[in-house]
Amino acid sequence: MKTLVIATVVGMVIPGIAAFLLWYERRLLARLQVRMGPNRVGPQGLWQSLADIIKLLSKEDTVPAGVNPWLFKLAPVMAFLPVFMAFAALPELDPKLNIGILYLTAVLSLSALSFLAAGMGSHSKYALLGGFRATAQMVSYEVPLTLALLGPAMAAGSLNLNVMAWWQQHHLPYILTQPLGAIGFFVAAMAEAHRPPFDLAEAESELVAGYHVEYSGVRFALFVVSEYAHLLLLCWLMAVIYLGGGPAWLVALKIMAMVSVIIWLRATMPRIRADQLMALGWKVLIPLTSLNLLWIAAWNL
């Protein structure tokens, strides 16, 4: 029964929240760029994403000539599934999952496959380059992300996300005791979710749309929804692991704050280059998060 409830919530509510985030981003970005943004469909344009999704769902299902049909059709699902599976580990949904972080890192690393599949299977050079970039990015930023997750786990002495949140409510939030880890997690999370300035895998001005350039209709919608769900997941993790969690409304507030900062960064920053991205990941973030780990280890001695 409980599993069913979780499945329903993840399956129905999360896409809804992702659609809301899509609207929120477009609206806030527009305000930052002296534009109006979508404001016609429903109050304040709130139903815009819903209308977009309906439009995408009703489109013809096209598979371009020359693609590898298996990879091409599987890729959006492979992008969608791991992200949604990861939600099951969040403390608001399952407070007792004792292998929370282990499960998260295991499941999230699967989504790199989808970008590779989309890039390889699309029979397009832009998609190929985008897929390569995305995969390289996912693989390299998995490491600092995991290292940054380990810090709080070590401090709380548990892999259970709920225990970490509980620990912070009775002591200090980890963002204060482990600032290096928090920064590392934030940057790595943005890179994992392909948020600007790390969106080079789908760089509009270079690769047109990167790995999902050949997709339309439902498959494209799956990519977009999973991207925003990924963003939501990582902000949620940040809220729980580094910002102290709390009751649902507080977590929601923290998530919205994180999302707003990320959108603000998108409005301000130019895009980083592929080699600079790698340099940042391997030469800055990994030492930074390792240092954080050492610091926590020394603290706990």
Binding site: L32, S205, V208, R266, Q276
Partner: protein
């Protein structure tokens, strides 16, 4: 180690960028040979927007041809008009009244601002920053509004005539320009605060697409491209025409010749343009805006070359007359085309992301490249 590297098969990827690519600024197409993401070869293809403007000058009378120059470089149409009209005036020998010269200066500097603003927005879009594009378009829109109020058109003005201007500017309009200059000064400070010190932007453009002074001269680069490589050559100063004979134009140069220098040169040029506008607005004098010219303008026997400093560089018109109302031959020297020659030198060895940024920093307008 070497043997190991040889055992991996390496293949070059041919990537076609354009003519519908969002970042090739119109219908430019380049075919990149890639090894990984590194560019090893570039084949540019142009001509998708060829409309035969040089030949048209032989088939239209001098006056009929007047609206055509607006379509060469549609982002800086005043300069094209000035080049064509200036060449005609030089060939025929028309003296332009002083007020017309001042007003030509004002509209040209306004147009330079609007052109550079569009460049700034699209260049930053190429580098991946979204917002400045919308900010610069807000300001550009105001300049276009001003020009529309004066000439009736946003881009293709047809404002200059052989011997002067189509019509006079009102005092109220000059006041509006003056207020606009003050407003733009404030906005430029904002741009520089937003962009200059951004670490990602600096890393994306510094030491990218370097062209040294000698090579810049040999490629025939002009305008901001040449000045960013340390060539102190500005036609407004070096071979002054019209009102620029009477004012001191600062020549802005940088030494390094990289994408960052080109950015800095253009940013400083915009501020210099604002300074020039101040001077022009203070010293514009009353009087007629049209000289006495015959109704049927005929190009006399002879030839002339007249060039102006456009926002992209030396924009020249070589005009041959044979005593009829048609030009015997007209040749345009479009600065973008010449600046584009250096493309393969600029791109090879860099990455795909840099290619887009470098192409953005060259500031091409395909209407002018292809004519």
């Amino acid at each position: 180690m070497i043997a190991e590297r040889d055992s991996i098969t390496q293949e070059e990827l041919v990537l076609n960028l354009g003519p519908q690519h969002p970042s090739t600024h119109g219908v430019f197409r380049m075919v990149l040979d890639l090894r990984g993401e590194t560019i090893v070869g570039v084949t540019p293809h142009m001509g998708y927007l060829h409309r035969g403007f040089e030949k048209l000058a032989e088939r239209r009378t001098a006056v009929q041809y007047q609206p055509y120059p607006d379509r060469w470089d549609y982002l800086a149409a005043m300069f094209d008009e000035m080049a064509y009209i200036g060449a005609g005036e030089a060939l025929i020998g028309i003296e332009v009244p002083p007020r017309a010269e001042w007003l030509r200066g004002i509209v040209m500097e306004l147009n330079r601002l609007s052109s550079h603003l569009l460049w700034l927005g699209t260049f930053l879009l190429d580098v991946g920053a979204l917002s400045p594009f919308l900010y610069t378009f807000r300001e550009r829109e105001m300049i276009l509004d001003l020009l529309m109020e004066l000439t009736g058109a946003r881009l293709t003005y047809s404002y200059l005539r052989f011997g002067g201007l189509a019509h006079d500017a009102e005092d109220l309009w000059l006041k509006k320009v003056k207020a606009g200059v003050r407003y733009f000064r404030r906005r430029f400070r904002e741009y520089r605060d937003l962009i200059d010190e951004n670490e990602i932007f600096r890393r994306r453009v510094q030491n990218i697409g370097v062209i040294d002074r000698d090579r810049a001269i040999r490629y025939g680069l002009s305008g901001p491209m040449a000045r960013a490589s340390g060539v102190a050559w500005d036609l407004r100063r070096g071979r002054p025409y019209g009102i620029y004979r009477q004012v001191e134009v600062p020549v802005i140069t940088r030494e390094k010749g990289d994408t960052w220098s080109r950015y800095e040169v253009r940013m400083d040029e915009m501020e210099a343009s604002l300074g020039l506008l101040d001077v022009f607005l203070d010293s514009v004098e009353a009087g007629p805006v049209m000289a006495k010219v015959p109704k049927n303008i005929k190009f006399p026997d002879g030839e002339t070359y007249f060039s102006v400093e456009g926002p992209r560089g030396e924009l020249g018109v070589y005009l041959v007359g044979d005593g009829t109302a048609h030009a015997k031959r007209m040749k345009i020297r479009p600065p973008s085309l010449f600046n584009l020659q250096a493309l393969s030198h600029l791109l090879v060895g860099h990455m795909v992301s840099d290619a887009v940024a470098i192409l953005g920093s060259v500031d091409i307008v395909l209407g002018e490249v292809d004519r």
